[in-house]
């Protein structure tokens, strides 16, 4: 049976919502999509903001993947009446629809008592502010947080000639992305590029004196022209505070994206896709995947649900990537933190390696470094030969 709405309102012009629209049209959906986003630069692609964009000149380019025929209204959602499927907005009044799709993504976590002037990277505006600061002659930067964004920024800023220092409370770079694996390798990539690292340290204070910043970490004062906070992201659910949706960890949803009320019941006609959406796993817990590919799958799966057929999109293993220090890093599957890491391929002349993590069975997880061919073969369950 189909669940085709006539009028769908989407909050957030994201990669997830683009896929929802595109896949719906492909499946013959003839209804109306109303898309709003409060970011004046939307739609744009986020992955390049920490990389190519900082090395280039010119404005943020509109995303190639946005469906041209669907306009984006510049408005901010400020509330939701779930029982009436009505979105309250700052500029458009009340928008009523048959289906409401929440795709507001995630925003940077700011440090407690963070002083004004500390940079961050999530939006096009953030990236532009950072690039302007570098263009204006900043010679050094302290990056707080060595997740994928922090590590990518370290790589890009080092490439731009800045003296870069990375600090993190975690014992290694990209602790979460790698589930605790490859820590020494990722540190070595940083060190070879001249990046100074301090892991396992807490930030005690951040202060600006004259033109320089001082970041005090456990027993050490660090100085630089720029301080960038890259400690992670939290789902953008502030506007839903007074709704009756369960927003205890992003928008809590069923496995296929139907939003749940605080009572635990499904909120009829309300869905969440992308980074803002926490999906219920088989063990009952809610999980968020901050992943470009997962966001796409959420969008495609919802389109397929609307069209009334069983979607296989969410059955696929997670896929994530990062590019840094001349390396393209790809991860397939859920890396088991306690799983054994085995290197199964290496080509040192091009810094290439492939690692299997955990079981050798079909459901093994893989990490590829500059080895897309071997990585793809492995994650398809094929032999590495040829």
């Amino acid at each position: 049976m189909t669940h085709l709405p006539d009028r769908v309102v989407i909050i957030g012009a994201s990669v997830a919502s683009a896929m929802l629209i595109e896949r719906s049209r492909e499946l013959g959906f003839a209804g109306e999509f109303i898309v709003m986003d409060s970011d004046p630069n939307a739609p744009y692609d986020r992955p390049p903001l920490s990389k190519q964009f900082l090395l280039a000149t010119g404005p943020v380019e509109p995303a190639e993947w946005w469906p041209e025929a669907t306009p984006i209204l510049n408005a901010k959602a400020i509330g939701l009446l779930t029982d009436k499927r009505t979105v309250l907005t700052d500029k458009l009044g009340e928008v009523v629809a048959d289906a409401v799709v929440i795709a507001t993504g995630a925003g940077s976590i700011r440090l407690p008592n963070e002083p004004a002037g500390v940079l961050s990277l999530r939006t096009a505006e953030d990236a532009l502010a950072l690039r302007n600061a570098v263009d204006a002659g900043a010679a050094s930067a302290i990056i707080i947080g060595a997740g994928t964004i922090g590590a990518e920024l370290a790589s890009t800023l080092a490439q731009r000639g800045l003296a870069v220092t990375v600090v993190d409370f975690a014992p290694q770079p990209m602790q979460r992305f790698f589930s605790g694996h490859l820590g020494e390798e990722a540190k070595a990539w940083m060190h070879q590029a001249g990046v100074v690292t301090h892991f396992g340290v807490a930030v005690k204070s951040i202060q600006k004196t004259d033109a320089q910043w001082t970041v005090q970490v456990s027993g050490l004062d660090l100085h630089a022209d720029l301080v960038i906070s890259a400690v992670g992201a939290r789902p953008n659910t502030g506007w839903l505070t007074y709704s009756d949706l369960d927003i205890s960890n992003g928008v809590c949803c069923t496995a296929d994206g139907k939003a749940l009320l605080t009572t635990g019941e499904i909120a009829n006609g309300i869905f969440a896709i992308g980074d803002v959406s926490a999906r219920q796993a088989e063990d009952g817990t809610f999980r968020r995947f901050e992943s470009w590919t997962q966001a796409q799958r959420h969008g495609a799966a919802l389109a397929e649900y609307f069209a009334g057929f069983e979607s296989m999109e969410l059955e696929q293993a997670p896929y994530g990537w990062t590019e840094q220090f001349g390396r393209k890093v790809q991860v397939h599957g859920m890396l088991p933190p306690a799983g054994e890491l085995v290197q199964v391929y290496a080509a040192e002349e091009r810094n290439a390696a492939l690692y299997r993590v955990g079981s050798a069975e079909e459901d093994a997880a893989w990490i590829g470094v500059n080895a897309p061919r071997q990585f793809s073969r492995a994650s398809m369950g094929m032999s590495l030969l040829s």
């Binding site: 896929m19 595109e22 896949r23 492909e26 992955p47 190639e64 993947w65 470009w292 590919t293 796409q296 495609a300 896929y319 990537w321 590019e323 393209k328 790809q330 897309p372 061919r373 990585f375 793809s376 994650s379 398809m380």
Partner: protein, 78 residues
């Protein structure tokens, strides 16, 4: 449906297309993709549609067949 080609300027070597539709896409050692010769018209097949949708760089394009020769050049230089 037009003829499929991979824009070498956009392709970043994720190799998703090859994972989803190996009968149509092939990748080189660096992960850069191209359409297997003879498979340029497979754009209607479900696996290929899926590959096109899932390319993070939107590098798989379709074009009208009348300027095929010119674009084919572009692909081979990537």
């Amino acid at each position: 449906m037009g003829e499929l080609w991979v824009d070498g300027g956009r392709c970043q070597g994720h190799a998703r297309c090859w994972a989803l539709a190996p009968e149509t896409f092939e990748i080189d050692e660096e992960g850069y993709a191209h359409v297997i010769p003879g498979r340029e018209n497979s754009g209607d097949e479900p696996n290929v549609r899926k590959a096109i949708r899932n390319c993070p760089e939107r590098a798989i394009l379709e074009r009208e067949t009348d300027d095929a020769g010119e674009k084919a050049e572009e692909v081979s230089t990537s």
